[in-house]
Subunit: 188 residues, 2 copies
DNA sequence: CAATTTGTTAAATATTTTCTTCACAGTCTC
DNA sequence: GAGACTGTGAAGAAAATATTTAACAAATTG
């Protein structure tokens, strides 16, 4: 076993290559408002395949509750799912490896929520403004400002409707007809 | 002035309508990884129009350095710009009111960065893995794992290229041909 | 059914981030 | 150019978030 030391080096080289990928994924997710350590967790699952909580804990050197909550967040974002290894008792989790699906799952979820939240806010605001505008007593200057807000809101409604359409186009895959996925130039 | 009290109430009603809108915008931006108070700042500028730092400070009841850094962040996201009121000394800032432009500016910037970061990470990782695979000494099992990572990476490259295309389609406005902006049903 | 093991909750702790106060540099005004 | 004002940087305080330890409930095994 004279070259066992060398093998260790190669192993390390492999791991460091993985880490480069993991870190850049984590940085991206950080950009998306996902905490860095949760991003690292996703990245790790992405390169390592399905894992149990204990494997994650060991790999990342963190506590198990951290892994548990981290995994839950990732599940909320629809980018990690439960699986099971046959015969095994421990629960395993698997990361979405297809970034196209990651993209659609993640943003669909986010944008749907945006649309819901804001449309309902606009509705409430409009009711209140309508009341104000129709009242006899309110001052003209206040009414005018209310009408101005109304105009802004009706502009923004266009946007939320459009965003809803975009989500739809992502869910149906329609978007990928418009902006197609290019195949690899060469096989590797 | 018997009904001055009533006017106050209408004024409050108007402000609370604004607040509903501001809060839902802030929540959305929170979703996007923008801090809640910065989101509130944007929302305020959105409904109030252009503002000076002091006006913001007063409106939000926060310190001026906070406003300063908040505005800077929003400028980094390309959703707020400097303006000036003619004759006035104080600098004013104006929020992007067109959500379509907000959307394109914000995500274009974010996704471009994602593509850059990850493509360069993939490049480094690939080099390292190539070395490993081509080496004489490295164990077969390690080489096999390296090749597996290579496969994953070349899959993900497709995605980043696609994302780059999407950004392009947003910048050129092409996307809005595929997913058109619907006009209002009725004028308000 | 007792004994282990797994995943999660709750409370305490640590860390990071945000915000404010204070200080200062650059600009405009007179 | 003195004085006043605007915007930003730095340091410290405050608040929010993330992480861990400890305890527990549910499930599985023998």
């Amino acid at each position: 076993m004279t070259d066992s030391h060398h093998q260790e080096e190669w192993r390390e080289s492999l791991e460091s290559a993985k880490d480069i990928v993991i870190d850049s994924i984590a940085e991206t997710m950080d950009l998306y408002g996902v905490t860095r350590s949760v991003g690292t967790l996703y990245g790790t699952m992405y390169v390592e395949g399905d894992m149990t909580l204990d494997e994650m804990r060991e790999k990342l050197g963190m506590s198990k509750p951290s892994m548990s909550t981290g995994v839950r967040k990732l599940q909320e974002f629809n980018v990690v799912k439960k699986t099971h290894r046959r015969g095994k008792r421990k629960q395993t989790y698997v990361a979405e490896k297809d970034f196209f699906r990651f993209f659609t799952n993640f943003f669909t979820q986010q944008w749907e929520r945006e649309v819901r939240t804001n449309l309902s806010a606009i509705e409430s605001a409009r009711e209140q403004l309508d009341m104000l505008i129709q009242s006899e007593e309110a001052e003209a200057s206040i009414k005018e400002e209310a009408r101005e807000i109304q105009r802004i809101l009706s502009q923004s409604m266009k946007y939320y409707k459009w965003l809803g359409r975009l989500v739809e186009a992502m869910e149906t895959g329609e978007l990928f007809q418009y902006i197609p996925i290019e195949e690899d130039d060469q096989e590797r």
